[in-house]
Symmetry: C2
Subunit: 346 residues, 2 copies
């Protein structure tokens, strides 16, 4: 067996061939199907674990393993190095996903998952938005205008008609470039406001927070009177002590974790009273009828990143790449003539 490699350039090409909207729509569709089908008996998911360090800079490298019983093992390795964009012109989040055949233990595929991570994170917020946000033309807020903001907005635009967008970022260069980066969406985007963080809760129907706020430095927005039906996709909190939302606001909202155990350690759920925390997104989708009226209430989707999403994302990418002839194959693994002879091919 050879190993399929989907490198950076392959993922770019795949997105061109398939089309951004179609790719995002398929990702949302596959996530929905998998979440609706999810049961703890059928999928083993390990809590994200990793190494965290503060030299040379603050950073972490983590692994997110998952195994659908009878299917492959998928492991995403993800690095988060917040100094990357400014110091090295690299993304803060760099990820690689690998798929393993459980019949033989062979590596089936390895893919750059940086783009995939951004797309699946957006797509999952899209699912939450579809479930929990008001319908009709909506105003969308973006706290933080980096890479994740693009895919958040893209996904929301696939599930809701957007009237206009209000965004802000601490870095004026990042704010200034956003409209161009999001130009393909054809939306009315305003990133000109000063101190929009003070008022954004009252100005929009859906808010996506996707900052690289430092540990202990949150929240990134001020509490104020929100629209009663405001839905927030809180994406940035993914580390103990890292929080984007004002505690008072989070605690008067209905909070939906992607995966509770992780959200309690790394997500907004760190600061949310247990009686405000609802079921996980997959369970809410399975019981959607019970939660229809939540669209009229304050809701928060606490997105820390669930390994099952990465499993879905990699499988979709491999499927599409195979269908469109994208990617390459390498003979990574040793296939000796005699499996009992480790030096056999020398």
């Amino acid at each position: 067996m050879t190993t399929k490699v989907l490198a950076a350039a392959d993922m770019t090409r795949l997105l061109e061939v398939v089309g951004r909207d179609q790719f995002m729509d398929l990702m949302i569709e596959r996530l929905r199907a998998r979440f609706l089908d999810h049961s703890a008996d059928a999928v083993e998911v390990r809590t994200r674990d990793g190494f965290r360090y503060d030299k040379p800079d603050l950073g972490l490298i983590e692994w997110m393993p998952t195994h659908e019983i009878g299917g492959p093992v998928v492991v995403k390795m993800v690095g988060y190095h917040p100094a990357n964009p400014i110091q090295r012109s690299l993304p803060s989040v760099i990820a690689t996903s690998s798929m393993w055949d459980t019949e033989t233990g062979q590596l089936v595929a390895i893919a750059d998952a940086t783009l995939l991570t951004a797309v699946r994170t957006g797509a999952t917020s899209g699912l939450a938005t579809e479930l929990l946000a008001r319908t009709g033309p909506i105003a969308v807020g973006l706290a933080g205008l980096g890479a994740q903001a693009i895919t958040q907005l893209h996904a929301v635009s696939r599930v809701r008609e957007i009237d206009h967008v209000i965004g802000f970022d601490d870095d004026p260069d990042v704010a200034a470039s956003f409209a161009e980066r999001a130009d393909f969406l054809g939306l009315d985007i305003d990133t000109s406001g000063s101190d929009r963080a003070a008022t954004i809760l009252g100005e929009v129907d859906v808010l996506c927070t996707c900052t690289s706020v430092d540990i202990g430095a949150g929240p990134v927005i001020s509490d104020c009177e929100a629209r009663p039906w405001l839905h927030v996709n809180a994406v940035g909190a993914d580390f103990p002590g890292k929080l984007e939302l004002p505690s008072a606001f989070a605690n008067r909202s209905f909070v939906v974790p992607d995966t509770l155990e992780q959200c309690l350690v790394e997500g907004e759920c760190q600061q949310v009273s247990s009686d405000r925390i609802g079921p996980a997104l997959s369970e809410m989708l399975q019981r959607a009828d019970e939660f229809a009226d939540r669209r009229d209430e304050l809701t928060v989707f606490d997105s820390t990143g669930w390994a099952v999403e990465d499993d879905v994302a990699l499988r979709l990418a491999v499927e599409l790449a195979t269908a469109h002839g994208v990617g390459s194959q390498i003979e990574l693994e040793r296939l000796p003539r005699d499996p009992h002879d480790p030096y056999g091919t020398v």
Copy 2:
């Protein structure tokens, strides 16, 4: 940054270029240096974890992450599928090692680690043999004559003069082919005996057990009067309930784990009384003067496979491959012109 790929064929070529003996000697040397230098403060090692399943066949896929503070993160993914050799002509152990830069989170290298695993497992037994076995021309026993037996014998031959070798395997074809596979060692090898498992403990000075014994099916040798100075490298036990040695024999030996926590769950230490378990191999090497007289006693090295060994092995392979121009580079990771634009290169 591009990612260095050391595929199966590259590892084969590297071994040809460097030479098997030189490669094994370097591996032993680097392991010794790292073990002597080891401290829990300087290296983070996660206990091996993974997914274990019994369909389609019994198997497991595990991850072994390690991080030398200030250095790279190395993760070995290892699959163990005991039906592979007979059903698929594949090795039962297939492994891949990856190295991550902790400054940026980028993937520095990915290597087929099947051969590397066999070599480092042999080399570690070599270190234990050097520390715990009698000197002078020795008789070596091999319980199990598969792939691991080759590198076990090779490593022992680099640290001790070998008078002759006695080996056996349940599979007559595997037994019959061993002498040819080990021919490069130029040793006197006898694999002709029937029921050698009943007497081997009394016939050799060093014994390496490296079978794929089923859970609950051990031991693979009978207890009998052993030479008082016998040293055993017990390599096969790596799963709860999987044991190669007779309990009575293990409990009258001085047992040295590679890493105690793991050995208590998966190794021979499962069946050994705590007062018979000594310090880990790295600690013994650091305090070698205190343990010199152990060479005259019954000793067992309980080798379950320590992630630090895989770190050492991958670094050595990457260093040698770079020096000798072996391997290829792929641009696995996305390097967008603007790190804030996930779709930027489309």
